[in-house]
Assembly symmetry: C2
Homo-oligomer: 337 residues x 2
Amino acid sequence: MSNSLLPSLALVAVWPAFAAAKEPAVPQVSLAVHGGIAAEKRELNDELRDTLRAELRRALQAGQAALDKPGGGSLDAVEATIRVLEDSPHFNAGRGAVFTHEGRNELDASIMEGKDKRAGAVASVTILKNPITAARAVMERSKHVLLVGRGAEVFATKAGLEIVDPAYFWTERRWRDIERIWKKEAEGDKKAAALIKTEPWSTVGAVALDRAGNLAAGTSTGGMTNKMFGRVGDSPIIGAGTYADNKSCAVSATGHGEYFIRYAVAHDIAALVEYKKLPIEEAASTVILGKLKPAGGEGGVIALDAHGNLAMPYNAVGMYRGYVTRVGKIVVLLHEQ
Amino acid sequence: MSNSLLPSLALVAVWPAFAAAKEPAVPQVSLAVHGGIAAEKRELNDELRDTLRAELRRALQAGQAALDKPGGGSLDAVEATIRVLEDSPHFNAGRGAVFTHEGRNELDASIMEGKDKRAGAVASVTILKNPITAARAVMERSKHVLLVGRGAEVFATKAGLEIVDPAYFWTERRWRDIERIWKKEAEGDKKAAALIKTEPWSTVGAVALDRAGNLAAGTSTGGMTNKMFGRVGDSPIIGAGTYADNKSCAVSATGHGEYFIRYAVAHDIAALVEYKKLPIEEAASTVILGKLKPAGGEGGVIALDAHGNLAMPYNAVGMYRGYVTRVGKIVVLLHEQ
């Protein structure tokens, strides 16, 4: 059995155990969530910290309830978990999405199940309340995998999904961020504008393993603050931000999307598990710490294998994250390892 | 040395040698091209067949000229090769793009280089004459990897790339295809409409290896005839339709894009080469014949490793394709194996 919540010895220097002290035996996990790469500690006051913890816990509870329902599967759990964070104004997905350079909110999401490797995704959508539900609808109710822009919106509208006015995605905190950047840019200080990074890579995602042994993964994001019109990151890209295969693992990523696309991060972790027979924690940290970090690609993943072993490596100050063990214990972590 | 143009014994039943009889030694290849999965033989007259051969040869000559130039690299070769096929009305990319369900031409393309694994892509663009050049501009002149729709068009326009009226992409042959489908749909015969498949998965792509040992790959497409508004296939998806890594290989795919995304085909072939140390022809046929075919995913790839070994497996009636050997010999193939 692999000690998936403990680092391998070779990695101990860069990747300290984040839960080792808390649980003597290695817990088997049924569900995990991430809320993106954390802001610097000093940027969070106690109130916001508590709110983030509470929201992550609420998301895990919703996901676990979906898993526990008769007939409930890992796809239901992933969707339910992510919907809670999409509906929260505190994460960069759904309601709390960051603004593009043009002051819009363009959302992306993807979902995949590990049994038949079916997948669905939407990108650059502006009126869909829950992009993760739209991604699932693309998977289950269209012949396609990826729909973008207006086409995705027309499909989701016809499918009866919840449509909102783009103003729904306006939140004061995100608007202040983009205004600060615009101000610096107007002053001609592009360097200062580029340095304004509050939660630069905050995306949400979930992975789950159900009683039938089926894995699923999903990811949802508002993208990068101040991103170029039409820029799509890794979140809606199957193989980059999301992957699930019962033969290996389920992965959801958060980070500097361009690197995650170029390194096909989610699929690469699955390939290391399947082809090199690496334990999940070694596969995930090989990619996040061994490949992305030297290349300058900030981010992290949650990765769950078919036996319930979980890895959550990241190469940044922290990652908002949590998991539910097979016996129902919920653990939520922000900066602590 | 691997006999990359010969099938492994285990695969001989399903994948007969396609060039074995022509060249006694296994040729090392510097450049390869594909023009998509072939139409049924009976759908091509001699004139069209000759035209396709001539265009593929012309594309290879343009690519090889780019490789032979002082300072010319594999990226230049891939771009030059693909531009010839984009400018031809006979392939489903650029000028000859098929029509969407709404009667539009929405183009996708991607490019990647194997040294630093940089990549660029555009999707759902309607006014860019050469999407492959736009993909390269995204890679070299933006901080992003994937730009879609109007955002990609604005970027390409500012970058000074060639813009055309959408009518440029109107060709009589493709228009007749979509008209036939609309007619059947109007008659309420969706089944018959779905059966109208002329060159259903025809996309173009190239892979190259330059004297410095750098691999590159690129893919360009007009997508599926009658595709849903906003549907994006595998061609602009790094890891699905295109991948390049000097550590393993360069891959460009053509086929039923949804399967190529779900199976992360291009990256999976690279992973089999890097992690399982499979020879390129075994890696490529494992994915195309061993995984996609049983799942119902029609298509093929061209895959070139860092030693110049080429594989071109496909699980369909034929694949328009060709290559240039290190000694400058050009080979073009349609249905023959």
